[in-house]
C-alpha cells in the first residue's frame, strides 16, 4: 500500500517534469530526456525508458498530443506538444507541488529549531 502511494507520487512528478519541459515548445522523447537531465544539473537521472510509458499516459489523458516531424539532424521523430488541458494540469500540479514543498519546508524548519 505504502509503496504504491510512493510510486504514484513519483509518477506524478515525472509527468509534471515532462509537461514543464514541453512549455518551451514541442519536443521529441530524446530531447525531453536530455532537457530533464540537464536542467536539473543531472540530479534527476531518469531512466530514459520510463519516459515513453509516461508520454503514452499523458497522451491518453489528452494533456499532450503527438505528431511525426523532422528532428534537428533531419531524422524522423515523434514530437509531443502541450495541449490546453495539459497546460492547465501543469499549473495545478505546480501549485500543488509548491504548497507541498512549502509545507514540508515549514515542518523541517520547525524541526530544525527544536533541535537547536
Amino acid at each position: 500500500m505504502g509503496s504504491k502511494k510512493e510510486q504514484e507520487l513519483l509518477l506524478g512528478t515525472l509527468d509534471m517534469l515532462i509537461l514543464q519541459t514541453l512549455v518551451m515548445g514541442p519536443a521529441h522523447g530524446h530531447t525531453i530526456a536530455h532537457v530533464i537531465e540537464h536542467t536539473s544539473d543531472d540530479v534527476l537521472q531518469i531512466e530514459q525508458g520510463s519516459l515513453y510509458p509516461a508520454l503514452h499516459r499523458l497522451e491518453d489523458r489528452e494533456w499532450v498530443s503527438s505528431y511525426w516531424g523532422p528532428s534537428e539532424n533531419n531524422r524522423k521523430a515523434r514530437f509531443y506538444k502541450l495541449t490546453a488541458a495539459g497546460r492547465k494540469q501543469l499549473r495545478a500540479e505546480t501549485h500543488r507541488w509548491e504548497s507541498m514543498v512549502e509545507a514540508i519546508g515549514r515542518v523541517l524548519g520547525n524541526a530544525g529549531r527544536v533541535v537547536e
Partner: protein, 889 residues
C-alpha cells in the same frame, strides 16, 4: 478512448517501436559525436534507454483490457483442463447438477405456492386482512357486516377494500348436463381494485353484487373459457345456467390471472350478492354477523405502510366490537402481505408454508453435500496439480492470477452443473406438478418456471461454484514454493488432510440428518396408515353430488336424497348406504361451528371452540361401522317437525359432560340459535382430520333437520364385495333419477384417505425426504470412498515400508480402517445431535416422536454399515499393496 486503443494496439505498437528506434539512433549519433566507436555508441544508447521490448510491453499492457483478456484465456484454459480429465468433470458436473436440480425443483414448488405472480397490478401494494378474537390464531374469514365496516372506514389507508367467497356450482348451457365449476363470488369493485383486465367483454362494475339477485351476470376465467367454451370468441352475451339460474356471460378474465389463491383455480366469477339466489342462502343467513365466508383484500394507498393500515384497522375493530358485542367481542384486525395468507390462513404454523420452507432447507443440505464432494475432488486435483502451479508461480504468475484461474475452473464446473441442474429441476418440478391429488376440485399444483426460479437457480449455481472453488484455490495459493519443489512432486499432502477429513465428517453428518428426517416421515406415514381410524374404510364407495347445481330447491333436494337412498339400498351387493356432508380427510365441509353448551363455561380467557360436525342420513354409523356407545341412532322420524337432535363423539361428551351421562343434554350451534340440539347418542371417536392428535370433539346432526343449509352431500355405500363393482349400478341409479346431475370425487373410502387433507401430504413429504436422504447417502458414500482411496494412494509407499518392516495385512487393514472410522464416527455423532435438534423443530409435522428410537437406531446402524463398506474397498487395496513395488516407486 481506451477501447479504440485496444482495438488498434498492434498498429500503435509498431509506431512505438519506430519511436524507440528513433530515440536509439539519436542517442547513438550523439555518442558517436562524443567520440565513441559505432558499436560502443549503440551499446551505451541501449543501456541508457533500457530494454525497448519491455517498454513496448508496458505500453501494450496500458492499451489492453486486462481482465477481459485474462478471463477469456482462463476460460479456454479451464475448458482444456476439464477436457483432459473427462471422468472428473463428469462426476463433478453430475454431482452439482443433482444438488442444484433438487434446489430448483423444491424452489419452484415454494415459488409456485407462495411467491409466483398473481398477475394483478402492483401486487406488493395488495394486502389481505386477518382477524382474531382473544388469542385464537389469525384467520381470514369475515362477515358481510365486517366487510361493510372495513369498506367504509379505511379509505385513508386503502384505495379499496374488496372481498370474495368461494363456491362450487353447476354451470351449463341451456339443456346440457352442467359442469361443476369452482366459483368466486366477488364484490363489484373486486377486479378494479386488483387491476385485472378483461380478455373479452367486461368484468364487474362497482354497483354489481350489492343487491341479492339483481345482477345475473357471470365472468369466466380464461382457462375455463378455453376448455369448456372452446375459446368461443362470441361467448359474451351467451346465456348459461348456474345451479339452474339463468345468467349472461359478460366477459372473460385476463389470460394469466388465476385468482388470488394460487392453489385453487377459480373457473367463474359472480357478483357477491348472487350467492343468495344461486346457493339458495336465506337473506337472514347471508347478513348474519356469524356467517363468515368472505376473504378481504385491500390495496394500500401510495406511500402508506402496512403498519398504518393495521393501525386504522384497529380503530375499525374497536368500533365493530362496540356495534356487535356478540359476534365481534374483543376482535382484532391486521393487514398482511398477500403471500402470508396465500393458500391457507395466517397461522405461522400453516402446513404448506412450513413444509415448503423445510424442504428448501433439506435441499440446501443436499447442495452442501454435493459442494463438499466436488470441493474434495478439486482438493485432490489441486494436490496433484500443485507442481504445475508452483512452476507457473516460479515463472512469474501472480498468485491472484492462479487463484482466479482455479476459480474460473470451479465456476465453469458450476455453470455446467447449473445448466444440467436446471434441466433436472424442471423435470423434478414437472413430476411434482403431476402428482395425482385424488380429487376433482380444480386444485392448481402446477409449478411453472418463471424468472424467480431461474434467478434462484443461477444464484445457487454460482454460489456453489465459488464455494467449491475457493477452498482448493486458497490452499494452493498458500502452498510453499520451495517445499513443493523439494518434495519432488509428491505435493504437500500433509497440511490438507485434516481439512479433507473435516469435509467428509460434514458429509456423513449431513447425510445422517437427511436420512433421519426421511426416516421420521416414513415412520409417520406408516404409523398414520395403521392408525386407529374409528371407522372401517374397506369396501365403501363414495361419490359427491349437489342437486342444487341442477336447480333443485331445498325440499326437492331432500326428497332426491331420500329416494336415492331407497333405490341404492335395494341394489344387489349393497350392504348399507347413507349420505354425509363430510368424508373423512375430505376437502369439503370442514368448517364446523362454535357451540354454546347449557351449564358449560369455557375456561377464562378462552373463546368458544369451533367444533366440526357432519350432516348425515340414517344408517351412517352402520355404513362406516362407527359403533354407538350409548343412546340411539337417527331415524326418519328425526325431521324438522320434531325435536332437533344430535349424536356427539366420545371426545365431545368427555369435554362437556365429564363423568356424566351426555344423553338428554342440550347445546346450541351458534349459527342456528333457534334450534337447541338434544343429545340422543354417543358415538365412538372417528378420525375426520389429521393423524397427529387424538380425535377432536365432533358431532353429527340429521340431514333431514338441516337440509336447508346445504344440498351438497356424499353418497357412501358399503358393499358386500369389491366396491368398484357396484359403481355402474350406482351411477345408473343416479342417472335414472336426475340425468343432468354431475357426480364427482368418485372413489372408495380407502382412496379418499390418500388426499391432500389425509395421507397424501405425508406421502409426498416422505417420498421427497426419502429421495433427498438417498441422494445424501450416495453423495456421502462417494465422499468417504473417494477420500479414503486418495489417502491410501498417498500412503502407498508408507504402507510398503511398514510391510517391509513386518506389518501384516491385518495391521494395514486396521490402520486404514481406523482412519476411516474416526471420520465416520465423528460425522455420525455430529449428525445425530443435529438431527435431534432439527427433528424437534418438525414436531408439528410428524406423527412419531421427534426422538423416535427406531428411526435413530435404524439410520445410524445402516449408515455406519454402509460407511464401513465404503472404507472396505480402499482398505483392501491398501492390504494388497506389493511392498517391493511400492518402495521402488
Amino acid at each position: 478512448m481506451s477501447l479504440r486503443r485496444y482495438l488498434r494496439r498492434r498498429e500503435w505498437d509498431e509506431e512505438r517501436a519506430r519511436e524507440l528506434e528513433a530515440h536509439l539512433e539519436q542517442e547513438t549519433a550523439d555518442n558517436v559525436a562524443r567520440g565513441m566507436t559505432a558499436g560502443e555508441a549503440r551499446r551505451r544508447a541501449y543501456m541508457k534507454l533500457g530494454n525497448p521490448t519491455m517498454i513496448r510491453e508496458e505500453i501494450w499492457k496500458m492499451n489492453s483490457l486486462v481482465s477481459v483478456e485474462d478471463l477469456g484465456r482462463d476460460v479456454r484454459y479451464a475448458l482444456r483442463q476439464l477436457r483432459r480429465s473427462p471422468g472428473f468433470a463428469a462426476i463433478a458436473i453430475v454431482t452439482l447438477a443433482l444438488g442444484i436440480g433438487v434446489n430448483t425443483a423444491i424452489f419452484s414448488m415454494v415459488n409456485g405456492l407462495l411467491f409466483s405472480s398473481l398477475h394483478v397490478r402492483e401486487e406488493n401494494r395488495l394486502q389481505e386482512i386477518g382477524s382474531r378474537q382473544q388469542g385464537t390464531p389469525w384467520q381470514p374469514q369475515f362477515s358481510l357486516a365486517e366487510y361493510e365496516a372495513m369498506h367504509g372506514q379505511t379509505s385513508d389507508v386503502f384505495s379499496g377494500v374488496v372481498g370474495d367467497a368461494y363456491g362450487l356450482d353447476g354451470l351449463s348451457m341451456e339443456g346440457n348436463k352442467p359442469d361443476r365449476a369452482f366459483t368466486d363470488y366477488v364484490t363489484g369493485d373486486f377486479f378494479d381494485a386488483l387491476g385485472v383486465e378483461p380478455y373479452l367483454g367486461r368484468l364487474f362494475h362497482a354497483g354489481e353484487g350489492v343487491t341479492p339477485g339483481a345482477d345475473p351476470v357471470v365472468v369466466l376465467s380464461y382457462a375455463y373459457w378455453k376448455r369448456h367454451f372452446a375459446a368461443d370468441p362470441n361467448v359474451v352475451g351467451k346465456h348459461v345456467l348456474l345451479d339452474g339460474h339463468p345468467m349472461t356471460v359478460v366477459g372473460v378474465t385476463a389470460k394469466d390471472y388465476r385468482g388470488v389463491n394460487t392453489a385453487l383455480s377459480v373457473e367463474a366469477y359472480l357478483p357477491l350478492a348472487m350467492i343468495v339466489p344461486i346457493e339458495s342462502t336465506p337473506l337472514s343467513e347471508y347478513r348474519k354477523p356469524t356467517n363468515r365466508n368472505l376473504r378481504l383484500y385491500g390495496r394500500l394507498r401510495p406511500g402508506v405502510a402496512r403498519q398504518q393500515a393495521t393501525a386504522t384497522l384497529a380503530v375499525v375493530a374497536r368500533r365493530l366490537a362496540a356495534e356487535q358485542p356478540v359476534a365481534d367481542k374483543n376482535v382484532e384486525l391486521a393487514s398482511f402481505p398477500m403471500w402470508v395468507g396465500r393458500n391457507a390462513g395466517f397461522d405461522p404454523q400453516n402446513a404448506i408454508g412450513e413444509v415448503a420452507w423445510f424442504f428448501l432447507g433439506l435441499a440446501g443440505v443436499v447442495l452442501l453435500l454435493a459442494c463438499v464432494n466436488v470441493a474434495n475432488l478439486l482438493l485432490v486435483r489441486a494436490t496433484v496439480r500443485e507442481r504445475e502451479m508452483v512452476i507457473r508461480s516460479a515463472l512469474g504468475a501472480a498468485r491472484t492470477r492462479l487463484i482466479r484461474q482455479m476459480l474460473t475452473e470451479s465456476i465453469l464446473l458450476a455453470v455446467c452443473g447449473g445448466v444440467a441442474g436446471i434441466g433436472l429441476g424442471l423435470w423434478g418440478s414437472h413430476l411434482l406438478s403431476s402428482i395425482n391429488l385424488g380429487t376433482d376440485l380444480p386444485l392448481h399444483f402446477d409449478f411453472g418456471f418463471d424468472w424467480h426460479v431461474l434467478a434462484f437457480s443461477m444464484a445457487v449455481a454460482v454460489a456453489a461454484g465459488a464455494l467449491v472453488g475457493i477452498v482448493p484455490a486458497l490452499r494452493l495459493a498458500r502452498a510453499n514454493l520451495n517445499m513443493v519443489l523439494r518434495e519432488g512432486g509428491r505435493g504437500v499432502a500433509g497440511g490438507g488432510h485434516r481439512f479433507r477429513d473435516a469435509l467428509v465428517t460434514v458429509q456423513v453428518g449431513s447425510a445422517m440428518i437427511l436420512l433421519i428426517i426421511a426416516g421420521l416421515f416414513t415412520r409417520s406415514l406408516t404409523q398414520s396408515e395403521h392408525a386407529e381410524l374409528g371407522f372401517n374404510p374397506a369396501n365403501v364407495m363414495t361419490m359427491m353430488m349437489d342437486p342444487g347445481e341442477i336447480g333443485y330447491n331445498d325440499p326437492r333436494a331432500r326428497d332426491f336424497y331420500k329416494d336415492l337412498l331407497q333405490r341404492v339400498r335395494a341394489l344387489p351387493g349393497v350392504k348399507s348406504a347413507t349420505t354425509a356432508l363430510m368424508v373423512p380427510m375430505g376437502l369439503v365441509g370442514n368448517g364446523g361451528d362454535t357451540i354454546t353448551v347449557n351449564g358449560y363455561q369455557p375456561p377464562a380467557g378462552q373463546s368458544a371452540l369451533v367444533i366440526a360436525y357432519n350432516l348425515i342420513a340414517t344408517d351412517y354409523f352402520a355404513t362406516l361401522q362407527i359403533p354407538l356407545d350409548t343412546g340411539r341412532n337417527f331415524s326418519d322420524a328425526d325431521d324438522e317437525n320434531h325435536l332437533y337432535v344430535a349424536i356427539v363423539s366420545e371426545a365431545m361428551a368427555k369435554q362437556y359432560w365429564p363423568h356424566q351421562d351426555a344423553i338428554g343434554r342440550e347445546f346450541t350451534m351458534n349459527s342456528d340459535p333457534a334450534h337447541p340440539l338434544q343429545v340422543v347418542g354417543v358415538a365412538r371417536d372417528a378420525r375426520y382430520q389429521g393423524f397427529r392428535q387424538a380425535p377432536a370433539p365432533y358431532f353429527y346432526v340429521p340431514f333431514l333437520q338441516h337440509y336447508a343449509t346445504n344440498s351438497l352431500e356424499t353418497l357412501e355405500v358399503r358393499t358386500v364385495g369389491e366396491p368398484g363393482t357396484t359403481l355402474p349400478v350406482l351411477e345408473r341409479s343416479i342417472n335414472d333419477m336426475a340425468p343432468n346431475l354431475p357426480v364427482f370425487d368418485v372413489k372408495t373410502l380407502h382412496q379418499a384417505l390418500y388426499t391432500p387433507n389425509g395421507l397424501l401430504l405425508f406421502q409426498i413429504i416422505a417420498t421427497l425426504a426419502g429421495i433427498m436422504g438417498t441422494l445424501g447417502l450416495v453423495l456421502a458414500i462417494v465422499g468417504v470412498y473417494g477420500v479414503l482411496s486418495y489417502v491410501v494412494s498417498q500412503r502407498t509407499s508408507e504402507i510398503g515400508v511398514r510391510m517391509a518392516l513386518g506389518a501384516g495385512r491385518g495391521d494395514i487393514l486396521r490402520i486404514v480402517y481406523k482412519q476411516g472410522m474416526w471420520i465416520v464416527g465423528i460425522g455420525l455423532a455430529v449428525g445425530l445431535a443435529a438431527s435431534f435438534g432439527i427433528a424437534h423443530l418438525l414436531h408439528s409435522l410428524i406423527v412419531v416422536s421427534p426422538g423416535d428410537p427406531a428411526t435413530y437406531l435404524g439410520v445410524s446402524d445402516a449408515l455406519a454399515a454402509i460407511a464401513m463398506l465404503a472404507c472396505y474397498v480402499p482398505a483392501r487395496r491398501a492390504m494388497y499393496v506389493e511392498p517391493m513395488k511400492a518402495l521402488r516407486e
